[in-house]
Amino acid sequence: MLNLMVGSQEPMNIPMGELLMAKPMHDTPMLDQLESGPWPSFVTGLKRLANDNDMMVDLLGQLETSYQTRKGYWKGGTVGVIGYGGGIIPRFTELKGENGKPVFPAAAEFHTLRIMPPPGMHYDTNTLRKMCDIWEKHGSGLIAFHGQSGDIMFQGATTDNVQPAFDELNEMGFDLGGAGPAVRTGMSCVGAARCEQSCVDEGRTMRMLVNNALDDMHRPALPYKFKYKVSGCPNDCMNSVQRADLATIGTWRDDMKVDQEEVKKYVADMGRKKIIDNVITRCPTQALSLNDDDTLSVDNKNCVRCMHCINVMTKALSPGDDKGVTLLCGCKRTLKIGDLMGTVIVPFMKLETDEDFEKLGELATEILDFFAENALEHERTGEMIERIGLVNFLEGVGLEIEPNMITRPRMNPYVRTDGWDEEAAKWQERQAAQ
């Protein structure tokens, strides 16, 4: 007979023959309450893993403790794979007994591997089954599809098992994502793969942007994180305008397409009032008008590509043919100076040919390099632009100013304008060149 401590409970006598079996479950009265109700329960999943996985038994013990005390018990540390400086999120338990030993020893190390999914998060079943097998062998068996930065998160490995788990996933064709002051895992919408509103090859764009910057992803040495996100149209399903340092949003510059026969059908089906109330009057620039014969007139010069009418009348309306992207730079959430949206830095660029992609790649590298050299420690691109001003940023990365970058001109007089004539001449020159 062996004398074992199980969690913080009384010593238990376990016959040797049963040592191969999983350790007994801890009581989890609070977590148990998350097993009822109609939504799928992660607690039920954790418990099922715990049937033959000691790490999960103890993970449940620590999580239940957090529910009881309303405190977190993980701390970071340094765990990595050979050749890379980031991509693993190390977690060591801080929940220790008076003897300084972990209360839940089997979950004392519970690291996450961030693995980059294919663009659009598409999978065949074999790939996911293989990932499950690898994670059952080396990790806890818990996987999140996906984390907020777009990674597959393989949650719960001991320090020793991080390397073999990564090696097997890496051999499958998958690579670690970003963590820390580094280029982070990118995201792109389903886009061209299954959406008629797609204005650009989102997957190719995101893949090009991230894969051009792998050194800055895998060897974190930037002032702070840097994120690329790609949405195929201004619906911006990837929230790029609020979350990405460089947001790439699909758009078009010719007339949007109108199938007048389909418009008439919508009017017949929905009724004129509904079309007027839900489409015509909702256009932010009053660019739409319903004609007497139930066809639609569009003032394309004043259309701002907001997508609303196209979202409502999916069969009748669609983006034009001369497609490309708008680039915005510098969005982030609160800390430290407050929320920042992205700012337009390129109103339109084509993104079809290899040369177009190369041009975007070069610009992205320019921006990343400027950020690396000029941002302060722990400063995102948006904060840097706020500090140095948009004009200095644009000069630094070699972009020309243009009025699509502003909502309105300056409202305060605190500016020196002694270079006015030269600046006006530059503008005239650029206009003449077009």
Binding site: P38, G45, N278
Partner: protein, 357 residues
């Protein structure tokens, strides 16, 4: 000599092609239109005439391998062996024949996966890691989301809202959950409690001082040891000092509360993108099911559902009816904390005679 270690294959983001459903691959970039035959199902038609039906199911995001294998069995037997995930952790099954849709839905429902999250529904809540894995969490994420999605189940499987509703939760004020129509975020209410015995050992003090948005932290000697002190009158309890310096204990079981924010919108549709706005705070962090959070969310949703026009997002609705009426219709108290006094905050004050009576 030992063998050279295995070096990583620096392959980056994998190609999409091998993982794409064949109909998606064939019609890449050539889709014509889509419609929604029922909640949870999308129907896309390509210029080639090909059609694809997508069935969207909710998941718990943090999935055990048994759940994933069950979903894969369903994908192989009832769909066509390919799936994808949405940004909100819903799983999508693509099938090339309409006849496969209903059996797939029946099977998913039988296995406990809700079908929905499309169009004007409340989709799955995007969330963070919380007590399960984060090193700085004020609360849990998966549990709070599970409890809330139980309450929102009917709104997930139906499309009865004026427009889509995107909810997020975050376990600290860094707000990794992101912007949302409704954002449920931890809001600390007391300055950090400092463990002065640890600061010198684990914190790079100048960088902690630099992190503070209101310059309330300064170096100090405490009991003969180098440490930090906080000007508690200045402190806004944001918790920015905690990640670089864990001895600045900001999480507090009692005083770390929830705040609820509304009107974040990333889409450019109709109005420009907006950030979410504070509407409620002081909500207790009450595991395992956080009923007080649900109560406020339900109040907001029910007022929105009743009063907003078709296609109006929560923020657009509040802007149209005006914030005084938002507080009236939701029954939420209006307090001095709603009035922005951060830099640039005067832009959020009413500088007009536009008043609704």
């Amino acid at each position: 000599m030992a063998d050279a270690p295995r070096m990583p294959i620096e392959s980056g983001v994998p190609e999409m092609d091998p993982y794409l459903h064949p109909v998606l691959k064939k019609n890449y970039g050539n889709w014509k239109y889509h419609d929604r035959p029922r909640p949870g199902v999308l129907h896309h038609v390509a210029h080639s005439g090909d059609e694809i039906w997508t069935v969207r199911a909710g998941t718990q995001r943090q999935m055990d391998v048994y759940t994933i294998r069950k979903l894969m069995d369903i994908a192989d037997e009832f769909a066509e062996g390919f799936v994808r995930f949405t940004i909100r952790s819903n799983i999508e099954f693509m099938v090339s024949a309409e006849s496969k849709v209903q059996p797939l839905i029946d099977k998913l429902n039988a296995e406990g996966f809700p079908i929905g999250g499309t169009g004007n529904s409340v989709s799955m809540i995007s969330h963070t890691q919380g007590w399960l894995h984060c090193d700085i969490p004020g609360t849990d994420a998966s549990g709070a989301v599970k409890a809330l999605m139980d309450d929102l189940y009917e709104e997930f499987v139906n499309e009865e809202m004026p427009n889509r509703v995107r909810i997020t939760t975050s376990c600290c004020q860094i707000n990794c959950g992101g912007q949302g129509d409704i954002a449920i975020n931890i809001q600390h209410t007391k300055p950090p409690k400092i463990d002065h015995t640890q600061v010198a050992n684990v914190c790079e003090r100048p960088s902690v001082v630099a992190r503070c948005p209101v310059a309330a932290i300064r170096p100090a000697m405490v009991n003969g040891k180098p440490s930090l002190e906080v000007d508690e009158k200045k402190c806004i309890c944001c918790g920015a000092c905690f990640p670089p310096c864990p001895p600045m204990q900001i999480n507090d079981p009692e005083h770390s509360k929830f705040a609820i924010w509304v009107g974040g919108k990333n889409s450019n549709a109709r109005s420009k993108p907006t950030f979410h706005k504070l509407v409620a705070a002081g909500i207790p962090n009450n595991p395992p099911r956080w009923p007080e959070v649900s109560e406020v969310v339900m109040k907001i949703l029910s007022a929105y559902k009743q009063d907003a026009k078709d296609w109006e997002r929560i923020g657009e609705w509040a802007e149209r009816i005006g914030w005084p009426r938002f507080f009236e219709k939701t029954g939420l108290p209006f307090t001095k904390y709603h009035i922005d006094n951060w830099r640039g905050g005067r832009a959020n004050l009413n500088a007009s005679a536009h008043i609704r009576f």
